[in-house]
Symmetry: C2
Amino acid sequence: MKVAVDAMGGDNSPRVVVQGVLEAVSEPGVEAVLVGDERAVMREVGAGGLPDGVDLHHCSEVVGMDESPLKAVRTKRESSIRVAFELVKRGEADAVVSAGNSGATLAAGIMILGRLEGVERPGIASIFPGQKKPVVMMDVGANVDCRPFHLFQFGVMADAFCRVCLGVDSPAIGLLNIGEENGKGNEVVRNAGELFRDCPLNFYGNVEGRDIFNGNVDAVICDGFVGNVALKLVEGVSGAIGRFFRDELLGSVQGKLSMWFGRRAFSRFFEKYDYQVYGGAPLLGINGIAIICHGGSSASAIKNAVKMAARYAATGVAEKTAGAVASFGRS
Amino acid sequence: MKVAVDAMGGDNSPRVVVQGVLEAVSEPGVEAVLVGDERAVMREVGAGGLPDGVDLHHCSEVVGMDESPLKAVRTKRESSIRVAFELVKRGEADAVVSAGNSGATLAAGIMILGRLEGVERPGIASIFPGQKKPVVMMDVGANVDCRPFHLFQFGVMADAFCRVCLGVDSPAIGLLNIGEENGKGNEVVRNAGELFRDCPLNFYGNVEGRDIFNGNVDAVICDGFVGNVALKLVEGVSGAIGRFFRDELLGSVQGKLSMWFGRRAFSRFFEKYDYQVYGGAPLLGINGIAIICHGGSSASAIKNAVKMAARYAATGVAEKTAGAVASFGRS
């Protein structure tokens, strides 16, 4: 599978993007096209030139991190993010990875590849490391004002994603809420609960903030406002706790000894709770595969995202999601 | 100041409640009335009897943790939570503390003490330990469907609370959102942002999930759905991280050595990030003082909540909040 990678996206592009791509293609079955400014990209590739399995597709424009997504995608026809999707559209690549402006990635994905038949709102799914197994949360930012049926369709898409891409047999779907009982929550969520209870998905029921990671569910459904707040809160809290221990422990000899003796636990912690392990967040509901990476992604995060994109593209998840959406009908 | 404490509320009542109250009244200026079943309470008090500064007010009913709040408060006229508020109403106590059914505490507070003049929606404020200073978040569960003006009034009430109770001079108020720029977020939040930008509060602007605790703002405003998800998520994430290190480190000799050498950092961590330090969440916008405690509160959390309630009652925060609300006008 060949992944079109937005070489110009992200805080440290094209350097870390190129690095991540060169690492990813050393795996069997992974090829990539670096999409971006030829000179800037080749400077990072170095004297050896592009290895086997990596192409370069030059384009002259870049969407900045702070640009208005829709406008930028409409007007910058030669931008790396837009061209990456066009390569998929033309069949020259199988998936897109971008660490650039995530709104623009979303907009370009919808505009160029189109929605899957029957999907009202494509969304962004994020994969969190749970205590026992990964948990998918959808939506984490694409749709801030949702109707109940939108939440329901996020559930259908997350279910298909868990089955096809994560190999979960009968994914348990939870609805993010502020209490476990039916009837809790705001109007949209209460009505979404009714839709879930009346359908053949394996609906677990409501889950609260504290239960997202405890392993009871494989996917947590919420609107993009709540999901985005939650995603960034988890990042913020685990970051703050990490910094707290670093500052406290590095400040004394005793603390340094503690870190040394506990080094296995600390490294397992960073391994387990590092979002970069998953590389990025898949965009679900479009006619193709796209992975949105954090702007601050490291080369290793990009590498994982490219491998993930190639793996997902091989599963035919988009077609299978379309089938599931069709089988559950319309709003 | 005399605090009416719901002796029957919480997972381990009346034991931990009585214990917490007995510890709290050893502080100067703190008195309490234990409201609940006389025999059950006196069994916990022990042979010495009630110390100076603690009264008992018998009542025969209890609102269960799973009862429907409104119905329970309406029908159980002799319930401990309702009677506690009635003591404040009659001037026999100055504040209420309850670790019982939080919906019932909210309902009883509004029903018996009433809203402050001009307040459309009273709400629950939670005080988080931030990285540099405490952060107040409001609302964390009372109002799941809000209009922009409700969010604006939460800001006015949180501002008064920070000034009067936490001694912050010109509290910076942040609006919880999914991006920093104006124009981000869902419709309600975008319109609330307009109200904040047009008023004389010290409005910081939008804050994202990852920035809640970084010290830029003194209060974070959100609706009760988002706030409740966030509150429980923070509890869940810090609990999971705590358990991870405990399990990892206690499982080996090296790990135990790490814990021993790092014991100062670990105990400072639990001190700093333990919600029990703050004891409970003040209910803002009612005609009086009430603190809602976590159902699983320890005696030490109850003690801190009782001291906090006595301190807040002495400040006249309710009257000052009413003044602020009046000065900012109506929707």
